[in-house]
Assembly symmetry: C2
Homo-oligomer: 189 residues x 2
Amino acid sequence: MAQFTKKAIIDAFIELIGERPFDKITVKDIVTRCGVNRNTFYYYFEDIYALVDELFQIETQNILGDTSGFDTWQDAFLKAVDFVRQNRLGIYHLYKSISRERVENYLDEVTYNNILNFIKKEARDIAADEFDIELMARFYTHALVGMVLEWLSGGMKGDMNAAVERLGVLLDGNIRLTLSNSEKTVQIK
Amino acid sequence: MAQFTKKAIIDAFIELIGERPFDKITVKDIVTRCGVNRNTFYYYFEDIYALVDELFQIETQNILGDTSGFDTWQDAFLKAVDFVRQNRLGIYHLYKSISRERVENYLDEVTYNNILNFIKKEARDIAADEFDIELMARFYTHALVGMVLEWLSGGMKGDMNAAVERLGVLLDGNIRLTLSNSEKTVQIK
DNA sequence: CTAAAAGTGTTCGAAAATCAGACAAATCAC
DNA sequence: GTGATTTGTCTGATTTTCGAACACTTTTAG
């Protein structure tokens, strides 16, 4: 039940993706690298893309994942940035190698749900109705994802903290949200 | 064939040995830590002491292990010292927890064979006969093991490189070897 | 000190995971 | 273009992992 072999396969892939572009990596390379039978690869993954998908999920989970334990969104986000910067992960290489859209979709999906949950939990008593909350979550999601992607595509150069600061909205914890023709300002602790 | 589970068990043990003394660690603790069935532990190890033995072998192999790829003994030894200092390993804790003799025997055994091979390979043309070579290996072994153990028992404090320098014999690559009543000086490149 | 709780080491058989070897089809390298 | 490599899939054998049970010893708590 404890699938250490699966993890070994993923780790081998991460290793390889750090060494050469994705299209130069074969299933055989991966199983050779970690000393596992090729059939075992197919036991866990339909094909190499299934592995990529799963890795994306794992890494995005790590990057923009669990926001619990953080007091503010900024903390969670900056921690995520740190994680990406330290780069145990091949996600940057994956991003370059495969497709921006793929990354974008995953980041979007993961981030949106996390943000949504966060807002629901933390901002329930701010009198925003369900629709407002979802819109708010969308707003934050696109802000965060867009920023991370830009940063990634630029080779992770520059001071991300400074960028966050420039964006302001994240750092001061205020979001100005315009709905049709009414305007609300919501404080997210 | 790919025993990732076994490695996971060993890693869990290393983790735990870094957290509390050996006699406060149970088999159950180990398998719980890495999420493995208790029977699986007994599948790989007769008991917790068998695990300790194997870990010793692994770690000493890492510490004083492969000397190939080094030009001189000094390089190999100082690299070993670095390895211990970085301490990914619980060997220091193990050493404190269990028994000095156990460590000593393992270090002795591993080191002696490595040194012997090294000398046989590198110093074959120095006109020393088989007996001389073995004696030389013994000398180096005790010097190295004694030093490492002392260093370990002192909590790995102080500058090991300086200690090696003080010992001299290792750093200048010369060993003065006295056999019965004849005296030889042998240069080990 | 004693009773309850936890841990040990071993058994059994079931279930899951890994393997080796083969195959046609697709793709790559030159 | 063709020869070599990779892919995805299939079989069935083998190994590994599991769950549950058991008598036994050790540890913990009152």
